[in-house]
Amino acid sequence: MSRRAGATAGSQSSLRLANRSLVVDTVKQYGGLTQVELAAATGLSAATVSTIVRELLAAGVVDIATTTRSGRRAQMVTLARRVGLAVGVQVGHRHLRIVLGDFTHEVIAEQSLPLPHEHRVDTTLDRVALLVIDLLEQMGSTLEDVVGLGIGLPAPVDTATGTISVQDIMRGWEDVHVGRIMSERLGRPVYVDNDANLGALAESTLGASADRVDSVFVRASYGTGAGIVLNRSLHRGFAGTAGEIGHLQLDPQGAICRCGSRGCLDTVVGATALIDALRSAYGSLTLRDVISRANDGDRGCAQVISDAGATIGAVIASLAVAVNPQCVVVGGELAETGELLLAPLREAVNRRLLPNRVAPMEVVLGALGTRAEALGAMLLALQSTDVPLDELDRDASAPGVLR
């Protein structure tokens, strides 16, 4: 019964290649599964799966371990881990996303969890810790294998202490040492940073601005933020507030922002503002509804997103004048609408930017989608770990240190 393999017809060798990547993709999707389950999930025969697994094992791509399923011995297949694992966590306004990866930047497991509006710091951090442990367990690993955790928060972060550096942006989270709490709980080093900074780190390492020296990552989401990469390294500023464009003043007569100032960008293009603009015509929507309706061609929702793009573009133009990046990468949930957001944003940037005939600045969509921030958190943990690879085992029992 070949259900999926049928899609790639061709020579024997290309079929074998296709089957092999199907097996790898399937293992990646489920984290770990037995050879029998692998056969069922891929639609390949048990013999083919067995052969492929043996080849992949020899090539060091997968690991196998003996386990039991329904009382029988079975071979559990997982992706081979090179040296150590890193965990990337993005705590968003309404979602939590966790990725588990290794030093090759390969993501081997991931999970997202919807979060309540104004979620509580204690419940959310508890869920992060339990999710990390559960995910590791699913992969057949333990915390011992983890070299570090990166955590992204939707607020400016003082990376030295792992706390939020500005009051009133995330209520209830301000006085909490997220880094210390999590490193004490899990016994591993924890690095905390702003989500837009992590998005910038991911896009400039693995994504759309990977070959650029200076770039800006704009995160258009429930709030708007930016991460600035100068000379290939993240510029956080003295207290971690660099790139907080959501709190640049746009309208001196505007509404009061939760930061206490007036007419910030977030009061105009933040989720609340977008949803309020649609309320009289559409009733109560969520930001996700607005995005999916805009993508389905709803004119009202598309209009709101395009207008937000133009407004953000005007602010980005000022930032670009100050920083002069080679490119601006746009990510965050609103970027899921693609050109709907990007075209007016790009136009607004170009209208205000000093025209540079030598090297015009590009405005592009992020390549990593909504995973960018969690991947950036994982990269932060990997990059902050300078343990020589052969010393990992010896160091595994060291107490958790907050850098």
Partner: protein, 266 residues
């Protein structure tokens, strides 16, 4: 709220049910729209499950009207509920341990080609539905007994999608699940909403409820005790409505305590 103009997919009005001296439900109202997750919360014995059983045809109210698409209907049996497009996942899931995932999904509703069970077709549909829920069950042929608690919950939710329902009722879907499993179930609920279904979610876990619901309907001693918009209400307000604790009055979201028959502004 401005969706008054829309006809709710499911509306229950003045629902009353007594078991002898026990007032299970007294004059309860509930409205659920398409593309909406409404959470039903309350203490033990507040009447949540009784109300859910009326939607799914297990119990019949002593008084009150049930409307689907604005048309009054009677739901005398679970079969009648299914015919009206209502699917329910009860707390005990009601799955068969010894059967595989596909057989559980189609139990009692097997597809046939001519006279025989069409296993190929059923597996195809099962796989498609599990994928639409972004479920991680590796094989549709795994016997239920080999699946984790969370995976079984996924199967039970997937089962509701057979026969294309419009209203899904979930009774405590995240009770006793690990965090990863809870994450998957909550993601499924988001998917159901994205598919345009009306979801009635019964749960004790305020974090889960507030994560996926659009609106929270509080029941207290069998009566409506609050309708809260999740985007604007706080955790404290929900808890206060459940326990009957006094809160600071907030316009349009607070009614006098001890209100025996107050229907909250919808």
């Amino acid at each position: 709220m401005s969706d008054e103009a829309r006809v709710p997919l499911l509306a229950m009005r003045g629902i009353t049910m007594r078991f002898g001296a026990v007032e299970a439900l007294v004059d309860v109202d509930l409205e659920v729209h398409a593309h909406e997750v409404v959470a039903l919360v309350g203490d033990n014995g507040a009447g949540k499950s009784t109300l859910a059983k009326m939607i799914s045809g297990v119990l019949q109210p002593d008084a009150g009207i049930i409307e689907i698409d604005g048309e009054p209907v009677t739901v005398p049996t679970p079969q009648a509920a299914a015919a009206l497009g209502v699917a329910t996942v009860f707390q005990d899931l009601a799955l068969c341990e010894n059967l595989d995932v596909t057989s559980n999904l189609f139990l009692g509703r097997e597809l046939r080609s001519r006279w025989v069970r069409d296993d190929g077709q059923m597996e195809e549909v099962a796989r498609r539905i599990l994928r639409s829920l972004s479920s991680r069950i590796p094989s549709v042929r795994s016997p239920l007994s080999t699946l984790s608690k969370g995976q079984r919950q996924s199967v039970a939710i997937a089962r509701t999608l057979i026969g294309s329902p419009r209203i899904v009722v979930l009774d405590e879907p995240t009770a006793a699940l690990s965090v990863v499993q809870t994450a998957e179930v909550l993601t499924h609920i988001e998917q159901l909403r994205n598919l345009g279904l009306a979801v009635v979610l019964i749960s004790h876990n305020m974090t889960d409820v507030r994560a996926v619901a659009d609106r929270i309907e509080v029941l207290r001693h069998g009566r409506n005790n609050g309708s809260l918009d999740v985007a604007t209400s706080s955790y404290e307000e929900v808890i206060a409505a459940i326990t009957g604790a006094p809160t600071e009055p907030r316009p349009a979201q607070h009614a006098p305590l001890r209100s025996s028959t107050t229907a909250w502004p919808a």
